[in-house]
């Protein structure tokens, strides 16, 4: 299959050789931390998977509170392969968020955010936030009891922020309470607003990676490192990992299809043993640490403010960490990174086990 004519047609119009040369120029350093380079690629692959499965699911889903739950049940029970693609979308989301968390914490610990890659950190952080919102909005689309309660708690939590909290809550809910309006809104977020922003940000993120090249950990920066071309060597390694991830997602989707609860009823009591999705557990657990009343102030509000500060600091870490931007060792920020990582892991585990 050489398709010489087609090849000529393209070559007469585009500088294929130049592009090939450009692809050959991309070199990736080889060292003991290179495994973390793959986490971003895994996340991207899972995002592509989510886009595809999401598109086909949207052919059948009905975003109206009377029919939403029933339409999901119909997808699962009546349509060809319906149960599989819903399950795949569910597990793809779980693994995508896992991959993103690993990606962000490895970036934090290897200090890849330092100058000149601050914008990469910023865009990546926003993408993580968007993915979490993706998870929350997608979860509500099921419109079952658990999803209903979870969204009530999450939007209510945002409502505890001082001054702007009320606005955020009303904007998210589309009213004073979680109703059919909220479902319509979350559907719009999930299938149009967030995907468009995500596409733009992923594009920017990847372009920036190409522009800056791969970051080398500070401890290895001075040493001469062997470099291998991204194409074809690294590309094929990426492909192997993607295939493995695909196999894992498909196996999980087949063996552990997620359940569907009863249709949400705004007047019913909250179901027993309700727990948020695992990526909210660390927030949930933090909120539990605070008493309801601190020095006459609402404990919940203080907790939310502290959490917001913690997240804001995390967001702005590249600008606080001046030392590593100058290329000096920054032990303080190593410890801060370890602290954040451990806090996240421990709180998630505690939340999961209790």
């Amino acid at each position: 299959m050489s398709c010489q004519r087609l090849r000529n047609w393209i070559e007469e119009r585009y500088d294929v050789e130049g592009m090939k040369g450009l692809a050959k120029q991309k070199l990736v350093p080889v060292h003991q931390y290179e495994i973390w380079y793959y986490t971003g690629g895994i996340a991207m692959f899972l995002f592509i998977l989510q886009f595809i499965t999401g598109m086909v699911l949207s052919f059948y889903y009905i975003p109206y509170f009377e029919h939403a739950n029933k339409s999901v049940i119909e997808i699962v029970t009546k349509l060809n392969m319906g149960w599989f693609f819903r399950s795949l979308h569910h597990w793809g989301a779980q693994l995508a968020i896992t991959a993103l968390f690993i990606h962000v914490f490895s970036t934090l610990l290897l200090k890849s955010y330092r100058k000149p890659r601050e914008l990469l950190w910023i865009s990546g952080f926003i993408l993580l936030g968007i993915s979490i919102f993706f998870g929350l909005s997608g979860y509500l689309l099921l419109w079952d009891e658990r999803a209903f309660a979870a969204v009530r708690v999450a939007t209510g939590g945002a409502g505890n922020l001082p001054v702007i909290g009320g606005f955020i809550k009303a904007f998210l809910r589309g009213g004073i309470d979680v109703t059919g309006e909220t479902l319509t809104r979350f559907y719009a977020f999930h299938v149009s607003v967030l995907p468009l922003i995500t596409l733009f940000l992923i594009g920017m993120h990847i372009l920036l990676v190409q522009y800056h090249g791969m970051s080398v950990p500070m401890s290895l920066e001075k040493k001469p490192l062997k470099q291998i071309p991204f194409f074809p060597n690294l590309f094929y390694k990426d492909l192997i990992i993607w295939l493995l991830v695909l196999g894992v997602v498909v196996s999980l989707a087949t063996l552990l299809p997620p359940e569907i609860g009863k249709k949400a009823d705004p007047l019913a009591p909250a179901p027993e043993n309700i727990k948020p999705e695992w990526y909210f557990l660390f927030l949930f657990q933090t909120l539990k640490l605070f008493p309801g009343d601190i020095l006459g102030l609402n404990g919940e509000t203080i907790a939310i403010i502290l959490i917001s500060c913690g997240i804001l600091f995390f967001f702005l870490i590249p600008f606080f960490d001046r030392k590593s931007s100058r290329g000096e060792k920054s032990i303080l920020f190593t410890w801060i990174g370890v602290l954040y990582t451990l806090y996240f892991i421990i709180m998630t585990v505690i939340g999961y086990l209790t």
Partner: protein, 156 residues
């Protein structure tokens, strides 16, 4: 066995193997995706069962619609009193037709197609006559069936 000369290089062999395997893999995956993306197609019904009382008493030279699967069916009583059932869908571009009692013709408003009272296409673009069904009555049940279909009612 060792061959000194080979027509294919190691690289071509690997490329072909890889390309073929990948194509098969993607094809299989894509097939599953398409199976879900294409609707589990609904079939046009072979027959529908209606209530005799609802249809037999309509005035002469008029029609009464009924559901033929997801499409429009028309129950039609001629001036003479004989009754028919037909699919009320134009054979040109699948628009629904209306009956014009004053002309005793069926009319499709989309592209000005006309059919006479026997469903024959007499004017406008329709290429084929309207589809007429067999009508039989079994007590209370009025059975409208495709021509040439043997109706087997489920035992109730």
């Amino acid at each position: 066995m060792k061959i000194n000369y080979s027509l294919v290089t190691r690289r071509t062999f690997l490329n072909t193997l890889f390309g073929g395997w990948l194509a098969a893999f993607c094809g299989g995956t894509f097939y599953a995706l398409l199976k879900f993306a294409f609707p589990t197609l609904g079939k046009e019904p072979d027959f529908v069962v209606l209530k005799t009382a609802d249809f037999m008493d309509i005035p002469p030279n008029s029609v009464k619609p009924f559901a033929w699967g997801g499409q429009l069916g028309l129950f039609y009583k001629k001036q003479s009193g004989s009754t028919y059932a037909l699919k009320g869908v134009c054979t040109h571009m699948e628009c629904n037709v209306t009956y014009k009692p004053e002309d005793k013709k069926f009319y499709c408003a989309c592209h000005q197609g006309w059919f006479d009272e026997d469903g024959k296409n007499i004017a406008g673009p329709p290429p084929k006559p309207l589809e007429f069904f067999d009508v039989t009555t079994e007590g209370e049940k009025l059975i409208v069936a495709k021509k040439g279909i043997k109706v087997e009612l489920p035992k109730a």
